[in-house]
């Protein structure tokens, strides 16, 4: 299994490189650059700024003549090569949109905040989703089941910005219980931020968790219903096992496999930050940085954020694959 994990980790390197190449090519290919402002820069200013940030160099490859002469002596002096060599050294460059902050700082701060919110939403949606999924499957066709399914339909169909605005109208405008937005104390992480930020956390957390909660609940319910009438469950009951042992050990363990499959993408989705939620509630997370960086053609942040997303998704999938071993005895690496 360690061999397998190592192989998968090493396999991420070419994937990341490929993603870097494609992203770099795409962001330079789309029209518009970081210095396209409402007021066109004088040609001299544009030349100065491009020289300062190395944007005057060729994007990928120098002309063939230069390539031929110099390739074997040293790496070509192009934007992509410079970016990759700097990135390997840990320097992700500077932001053109936030001139006083290096990209690495921007990303780290954004990631910490998005991850704080995302991990909490992951806990909330897994716990609530599983609990109600189990309840509604075991009490199929009861009022509780109907209520859960109704909630699941709502959670899956109401877009989170609508839910967010509704919450804001209710709790902020009407009841004056919670502040509208913001993230006043950004230096804390995960549950440590609850004491200082809980008021600002409540609404985004609900808005962010609604969909994954509903999703997990439906998956749990569906897969439990499937194993409910399996032979081995009947066997377990026939053996005279206590009901909770039947549920926990025989039903849940099997029903958990499909849940695990969806948890990977859900975790990746939550931890990488939701642009809509972060925009709406003025939360300085990575999701917002990512979208802003694209519209501002802030190359350094685009690259950094894309690679971060790629790492998170790959890591989440790897973790899920490894946990299969724990829950599914049929799987061995």
């Amino acid at each position: 299994m360690i061999v397998y994990a190592t192989r998968r980790l090493l396999g991420m390197i070419p994937v990341l490189f490929f993603i870097a190449v494609v992203t770099f090519a795409l962001m330079h290919a789309v029209p518009g650059g970081p210095w396209d402002r409402e007021k066109r820069l004088p040609p001299q200013a544009l030349a100065n700024v491009e020289a300062k940030y190395g944007l005057d160099k060729p994007v990928f490859a120098p002309s063939w003549r230069v390539w031929e002469q110099e390739f074997w002596r040293e790496l070509p002096d192009t934007q992509f090569v410079n970016y990759i060599t700097d990135a390997i050294r840990g320097d992700l460059g500077v932001s053109y949109r936030q001139l006083n902050r290096p990209v690495a700082d921007i990303l780290l701060e954004g990631i910490r905040i998005s991850a704080t919110l995302g991990l909490m939403a992951l806990v909330v949606s897994t716990v609530v989703g599983m609990a109600f999924g189990i309840l509604s499957a075991l009490r199929q066709n009861s009022w509780l089941d109907y209520a859960c399914v109704a909630f699941a339909t709502l959670g899956a169909s109401v877009p989170n910005f609508v839910l967010g605005l509704l919450l804001m109208v209710l709790f902020t405008v009407h009841l004056h219980w919670l502040p509208s937005s913001g993230w006043t104390n950004p230096t804390t992480f995960f549950f440590l931020s609850i004491p200082s930020n809980w008021k600002q956390l409540v609404m985004p957390l609900i808005a962010l968790s609604a969909f994954p909660t509903a999703y997990i609940m439906r998956v749990v319910r569906a897969s439990l219903l499937e194993v409910l009438h399996q032979d081995y469950v009947r066997t377990a009951r026939a053996k005279g096992l206590a009901e909770h042992v039947v549920v926990m050990r025989h039903m849940l363990r099997n029903a958990f496999i499909p849940v695990l499959t969806v948890l990977g993408p859900v975790a990746a989705f939550l931890v990488t930050g939701s642009f809509i939620i972060e925009y709406l509630f003025a939360i300085p997370g990575i999701g917002r940085q990512f979208v802003y960086s694209i519209s501002a053609r802030d190359y350094g942040v685009i690259m950094g954020a894309t690679l971060f997303y790629a790492v998170v998704v790959a890591a989440a999938n790897l973790i899920v694959d490894l946990t299969y071993v724990v829950v599914d005895p049929r799987i061995r690496y």
């Binding site: 518009g32 169909s157 509704l166």
Partner: protein, 551 residues
Amino acid sequence: MAALARKATLILLSLMILAFGALLAACEAEETPTSEVPAERQELRIRTPGEPTTLDPQIAAFASDINIIKQLFRGLLWYDQNLGIVPAAAKETPSKENGGISEDGLTYTFRLRDDLVWSDGEPLTASDFEYSLKRLFDPEVGAHGYYYGFYINIVGSEAYAAGEGSAEEVAVTAIDDTTLEIKLTRVQPTLLQLLALWPAFPVRQDVVEEHGDAWTEAGNLIGNGPFVLKEWVHDDHITLEANANYWGDDKPTLQRIVFRMIPDESVALIAYQNNELDMTAIPLPDTGRFEGNPESLKYAELATVALGFNNTREPFTDPLVRKAFRMAVDSQAYVDSVRQGSGLPAFSWIPPGMPGYNPDIGTDYPFDPEGAKGLLAQAGYPDGEGLPDITITIGDTQASRLTAQFLQEQLRTNLGVNIDIEVLESATYQDRYLASEFQFTLVGWRADYADPENWLPQLFGTDAGLNQYKYSNPAVDDLFAQAAVELDNGKRLDLYDQAQEIIIDEDMGTAPLYYSIRNWLVKPWVAGIITTGLDSSPGDWFYTNVRILAH
């Protein structure tokens, strides 16, 4: 299952209706008794749309950044509430009478106040201004943006910005601690106005050199304005505090200003209703329901929005077509419907409130569908027959979409011309616009300073930097050249007036649509707001005059 789905829909609907009711209830103005007694807590809370790009005066270009910078620094000169020039760090405004301006108009001598200090108490001298003004042309710093171009008539500045000269050759010289001399290559009647703007604010050399790009962070930044940067929580808020060492005569009453970064305007409105903000702009779709609200504050902005024609693309090569388009569009209806009343129908390019505003310009081409059709026929397109396909290209914003749809409808009904709408992602649009790759679009201009010089030559001079309309008329170029060096202000404004008359009345190089009016909500306990047409949030040139009343 179908029954369930219906149930769910019902629940959803009732939830939405509930929420809408709550929203409506919240619109009713809260009656908050206020007195004339100042509040204990002198704190002003304002929304800003997002993280500033920079707080470095020599680099800043965005209105929301400049709003904050104006509180942290003070230049040689400042504005009064009528946008006249008053001395700030300078003892007096230089003039020929007081010897501040040489007879040939090429040398400016500023005598500085001798009590100038930075926010850390260190003395501020003429050499600080010398350093900062030279920094504006540094190819590594200031010569990265648009605004250094305003000051390019200073001797040696252009060469330095192009990397050919050096800082030493820029003719800004500290003669002694309180005397600063600036030499120009040619006379520039507007130099004093320009020196009151943010690019000419002083920055501290040792701070900049010690911290590099991070010098604008809280804790590093040292300014000389009425407020200091107390806290900057990135992407969340910026807190300014009154500068205890402020030397100016306009010492602030406010102890704190908090800029909350809230990206969404509607959320900012909710924050305002929840008393988290003291002022916020009213989002366009909400304009109607705050009409007549006692907390609403409207002020005219020095800004004009117009129909932008590419003067080199068919059919807009013909002034008759451009005029026909102007006459086919009902500006009043536009202001009433799309702008919900927050704007004024425009005829001239230069808006009211600006020196050089002329109410007669453009009035020959009012909204008149019959007249418009006549002009179009005269241009050889009777009833629009034979017109090439016309596409209006816009950036993807709600306001632009609504405006383009309005124009499409107006041109179809009033002129019988069908136009297509092309909506582009904002940065793509910007790129296409700057390259003049459009046929028909929307354009706008907001004053950087209150002078026609800021409104005409850069935008309508042949091949000028911001002339994306590709407008060209030698007579206009000639008038611009004369006005640029005309020291008699009356004559100068007259030359610009003649130019504007040609641009609009003769050529209709661009067709003015409306003048912008800013629409804000301000809590009743905020007193002493003085607005000008240059404000990006109301009163931002004079926050020192603002006070909070007990409430």
